[in-house]
């Protein structure tokens, strides 16, 4: 509990409302939501040591409250296979980000294990002016961006709501295992939605939250990227 409080307090102290990916994941992990293991390296040596410990391949990402679009600024390197590659990537990330955002405060570089290919899912939370927090479910990539194939429910959701909102999207057959693809772990997705609903109920200071992507496998689901945005209006933080 102390850790959770201190992240929010730290962020507030810095006058920020957008949490870094690293901070967001830490909070979500404490809430029991499955996120990919992510460690923060503050030096190149640390980055190498962590990579060796969690095992290759790994992904490196810049951790900075001032860098919103991590990929566009060269702050992300994926599928690194060796110590040499991590060493090089670490230098390059810092060089590029510093060039792009000379004044950015840099917390370090996050290291996470590269996961095998799974079905990409997105789950998000936002606030509706009439109903309060709502939760969204969809398939990642073009399904959400282009086809807007998503479903919503008002928080709090019950088990039945969670199941129905997953089945409601047009792309649902993909999760069931379309054309020989193995089926995704739907009951873990249901649990994730329920956990997130409870988490949001207890944290009215959160304005928006997005897990994108979540990778769904036959026997588990895991969020690979996460973003939490806090309310600026203190009035809205009361539950």
């Amino acid at each position: 509990m102390m850790g959770k409080l201190s992240i929010y307090d730290q962020v507030k102290k810095e006058g920020r409302f957008i949490l870094t990916e690293f901070e967001s994941k830490k909070i979500l992990k404490q809430a029991g939501i499955p996120v990919v293991e992510t460690k923060l390296a503050k030096s190149q040596q640390e980055a190498i040591a962590i990579s060796q410990k969690i095992g290759f391949p790994v992904a490196l990402k810049i951790v900075s409250p001032d860098v919103i679009h991590k990929t566009d600024s060269g702050g992300v390197r994926l599928s690194l296979q060796s110590v040499a590659e991590v060493k090089k990537a670490y230098d390059e990330i810092l060089r590029k980000v510093k060039k792009e955002y000379p004044k950015a405060l840099i917390h370090g570089v996050s290291i996470q294990k590269m996961l095998p290919i799974g079905t990409e899912v997105i789950i998000g939370v936002s606030k509706d002016p009439q109903f309060g927090p709502v939760i969204m479910f969809g398939l990642g990539g073009i399904f959400v961006e282009l086809l807007k194939d998503v479903s919503f429910r008002v928080i709090p959701v019950e088990r039945n709501d969670a199941r129905e909102m997953i089945k409601e999207i047009k792309g649902f057959p993909l999760l069931e295992g379309y054309r020989g693809k193995s089926p995704s772990d739907i009951s873990s997705l249901v649990n994730l939605i329920l956990k997130l609903s409870r988490f949001i109920e207890g944290n009215p200071q959160i304005k928006e939250l997005e897990l994108n992507p979540i990778l769904a496998y036959p026997k588990r689901v895991v969020a690979v990227d996460a973003r939490i945005i806090l309310e600026e209006d203190q009035e809205k933080t009361k539950s």
Binding site: V125, F131, G132, M136, V144, E158, E208, E210
Partner: protein
């Protein structure tokens, strides 16, 4: 009222529909609108409570004593109806406080819906009401109707005396539902309560849902909404009401205009309409899309039993209607019922080739004793255990005698509560269509204005029944 509704408040809402003493504050000049009309309408409808006209310039109106002010009424007043210039409303509200009146309908308009000044006046009357514990309906409302006690304080002349008692409660943020705007009498439309809640400065959709939840005359609630005051409260109340009574909602603002600029996909995709639809799914609300559905679909719930399954039987005069009905029914999860072999044989014996999935009675029509044959056909179809809901198409013919025969036939079906029946009446004569439709509805068989609406009614009844089963 954002903070939930204690029991005492529910009793107060009762005062809006069952007042014993009503003060009517407003112009008593003879005309098409105002206090004169309200009193006349209530007297015509046989209102069982007492009416106290309030106006300093009159002594008597419609044989009733007129009081110069609320304060001078000697008896207890449950409800005041205020229909005066907006600027005088706060003064009259204060008189209501002094008289310890607990419910006020502000018919007067020109409040938040008009301009700054109106918005300020509205705030003022809300403040007066809150401080004194007075519930306010309106402003800018055509008021309420209670068909049971003849309480029809309609500020406009309806032109007919009574609203037929029935089990449909109709609520809207518009005067389009009041007896002057809709031909309830001509349609033999059965209503329990009607409520136009206008600007909803105090009494809102949540209060009404809670009140109607406990109203024994109401079996189904149909509501037109423009916005929701408190989404979470609305959701909680709806979850409680829908297992007891179906709630149908027509909501405006279905366009994506409200799409917000947002940092995440979730925020950008969360349009008002999607969220309201989600709330409906979570709470069992039946969302409807047209004004026609708003009035017509509740009838299937107020008059017929819920379907036991999704097997749709069709009796029609033309094959085309059968095909269209099947298309429409599929969208609601209805499937075409396969007649049982026994019933199929019996129909074939009445007329060769009749015992098919869609019972097409076009060919037997040419027979001389058509009406006898028709009665036999419908009664036989009604015996089929493979049919859960029946769509029956009736052709009136140009002859009144047929209409009487049809009514006789339907009265014989009244004992059957195993099937949900929706009827569509057509023919060459509008007066005969009306006569038959009204007669059927008086017998408890809802008639719909076209085949699509009839099937939608059956489909919605089926969806509600499956949802209700899942809730248990």
């Amino acid at each position: 009222m954002a903070n939930g509704c204690p029991d005492s408040m529910k009793n107060v809402l009762n005062l809006f529909f069952e007042p014993q003493g009503v003060a009517v504050v407003g112009s008593l000049r003879e005309g098409y609108f105002g206090g004169y009309v309200v009193i006349k309408t209530m007297l015509n409808a046989g209102f069982t409570g007492k009416i106290y006209p309030v106006n300093p310039s009159y002594q008597e109106i419609h044989g009733l004593k007129v009081f110069p002010s609320i304060q001078q009424i000697p008896d207890r007043i449950d409800l005041a109806l205020i229909m005066i210039n907006r600027r005088t409303v706060p003064t009259v509200m204060r008189e209501c406080v002094a008289k310890e009146i607990k419910a006020v309908i502000v018919v007067a308009d020109g409040f938040a819906e008009r301009d700054e000044e109106g918005a300020e006046l509205q705030k003022e009357i809300v403040k007066i009401g809150r401080e004194a514990g007075i519930r306010i309906l309106g402003p800018n409302t055509a008021g309420v109707v209670n068909s049971a006690n003849g309480f029809i304080p309609d500020p406009y002349e309806p032109g007919y005396k009574k609203v037929k008692p029935g089990a449909v409660a109709i609520c809207a943020q518009t005067g389009m539902i009041n007896p002057q705007a809709f031909p309830y009498a001509d349609l033999h439309y059965g209503v329990s309560k009607i409520c136009d809640y206008g600007n909803k400065c105090d009494v809102d959709e949540c209060d009404l849902l809670e009140y109607l939840e406990g109203d024994s005359a109401t079996k189904v609630i149909t509501m037109y909404l423009e916005g929701i005051q408190d989404g979470q409260r609305f959701l909680n109340i709806s979850k409680r009401v829908t297992p007891k009574k179906p709630v149908l909602i027509l909501k405006s603002g279905r366009t994506k205009e409200g799409a917000k600029v947002s940092a995440s996909h979730t925020g950008a995709l969360a349009g008002d309409d999607q969220i309201f639809s989600a709330a409906c799914k979570q709470s069992g609300i039946l969302r409807i899309e047209t004004f026609r559905q708003f009035f017509e679909l509740p009838k299937i719930f107020s008059l017929q039993p819920l379907p036991k399954g999704n097997r749709l039987g069709i009796v029609t005069f033309t094959g085309g209607v059968g095909v269209l009905a099947i298309d429409e029914g599929t969208q609601y999860g209805l499937t075409v019922a396969k007649l049982s072999p026994e019933i199929g044989n019996r129909l074939d014996n009445i007329f060769p080739g009749l015992g098919k999935t869609v019972v097409d009675i076009g060919p037997p029509m040419a027979v001389n004793n058509y009406m006898t044959i028709y009665s036999e056909i419908l009664q036989t179809v009604m015996l089929d255990q493979n049919i859960d809901c029946l769509f029956n198409v009736i052709w009136t013919s140009p002859f009144e005698a047929f209409v009487d025969e049809y009514l006789k036939l339907y009265s014989s079906l009244q004992r059957d509560d195993q099937k949900t029946i929706a009827t569509w009446v057509y023919g060459p004569s509008l007066p005969l269509i009306r006569k038959l439709s009204n007669g059927l509805e008086d017998l408890g068989f809802p008639v719909f204005s076209d085949l699509e609406t009839a099937i939608q009614a059956l489909g919605m009844a089926y969806q509600y029944s499956t949802w209700k089963k899942g809730e248990k």
